[in-house]
Amino acid sequence: MIRLTGIARTFLVGGEEVHALRAVDLEIARGEYLSIMGPSGSGKSTLLNIIGLLDRPNAGTYELDARDVTALSDDELARVRREKIGFVFQFFHLVPRLTALQNIELPMVLAGIDPAERKRRLARLLAEYGLEGRAGHRPDQLSGGQCQRVAIARAMSMGPTVILADEPTGNLDRHTGQEVLNVLEQVHHNGGTVVIVTHDPEIGARSHRRLRVLDGAVVSDERD
């Protein structure tokens, strides 16, 4: 479903080339629960950004659902992201002036989905992520765990191919972090593909496939 071949990404930092990724090959199948671990600056976030089509590789090819997406234009990439990728961020990235419901609705609004259909999906998402009582609250009226649940519901609203979570518990206390992980695992149990980037070995241990990234290269790839 996701196939990266020889993906490389270099940045120019102060006139010097920094190799964030060097020739990464990676295949992710539908329904996998995968964690990407590694120290800061190892290139794990760059890898996630490339999988999420937020960043473009300097070399290599990326096939998503059997389609080469390496050479798409910015607007085509945006459309592919909208349909196939769901992001969950460390700092939630909810729009502060919008209610929980409106935040979840955002991807569907951008996709121009019919309001009646949106309403139907919203009701289902609110129920699924235990947010029924919180629909009209704004992010500053929600707890961290609730914010992240809203973000996950938003990521799921378009029925994406893959959920990409960048340190999803990094900004939460241990208990709430567990709760959010449970929600992500629930997505996985329902057949979704989940990719988590994390520092935390404990979270890595819960996933079914663990990738270690060091200096822009995948150094180990363990499966249960």
Binding site: R79, R82, R97, L110
Partner: protein, 402 residues
Amino acid sequence: MRLSDLLEFAWRVVRGAPGRALLTLLAMGIGVAAVVLVTSLGEGARLYVASQFGSLGTNLIIVLPGRSETAGAMPGVLVGKTSRDLTLEDALALKSSHAVRRLAPLIVGAGDIRVGARNREVPVLGSTAELMDIRSMEMARGHFLPAGDPRNSQPVCVLGAKVASEMFGSNAALGEWVRVGDRRFRVIGIMARQGESLGTNTDEIVIVPLAAAQALFNTEALFRVLVEAKSREQIADAKADAEEIIRLRHEGERDVTVITQDAVLATFDRILRALTLAVGSLAAISLAVAGILIMNVMLIAVTQRRREIGLLKALGATGQQIRLAFFTEAVLLALGGAIVGLIAGELGRSIVVQMYPAIPFQAPWWALLAAPATAVVTAVLFTVAPARRAAMLDPVQALSRR
């Protein structure tokens, strides 16, 4: 993205930052109000002049002695040669034109009017009975000059309202004798108050029969002849006839100038319209300033909302959608400002109308359309750069900054 969603999204952004919205609304509002107010002043002046010309009488043609070779020059003054006098016989000959309804020859001079010990200098107008209808004059008491052969001089006169009250006070003036210059006239009528009309105040004049004025000022030459055409359509015919008749009587020489009220009015109209447009455009500069303010506000918004823009891109917003969101926001602000400005301009106009009720201040329709349109267009133009910047934000960088 649906239009209704786009509007709702932009509306929430505007509502989310009320201080910012208020500021832009104010700037746009002042610009629009200035355009509306300034153009109403100009348009009011134009309508005022038009109505003043209307009060001179309708379908009026004025025949002046002397020929102006250059359009707009003062006839008879700048020509530099002595022209043939315009005489009463010339004026009466104009009646042979089928396009002429009536005419009134005029002689104007200054004379002393005396009643008993009271004495003052007044403008004296010599004319015929038809002047009253041509100039739409109204009598307060008595009659206007009697109809009849204008060559006959009768010792009667008509007084302006102010002259009558100054000379006679509260006493009845009708039927009394007054002395103008070295001749005596009996007062047969007093005109109603009309006030000023393009510089001539009919309240302060004395009107005597033409022949009497000729004798009084010892001249045959007419100051001018007022001619009324039978209809608006026949003004041009009457003008051509008048020129031809006088030319034939003056041995083929074109030594009179015929001006139509229309031509004079049209000139004033053009001047005042151009003036209104020019001053209105000056006011529109304030709209450009407001546009620059909108650009600044938007640039700040792009910086403040980096993370949100990055998020929107991550969620699948295209560059086009981001740009549209910013343009919609700018248009909403501009429209809001335009409405505020139209209301403020209207309020200002009604205040000015209270102060000067005689002048019909009224914003012209094109200004009411152009001011909001300019507001919206400048807002959109000045949002191009910020919207472009937002659309080109790199989502990875925008999201990574805290």
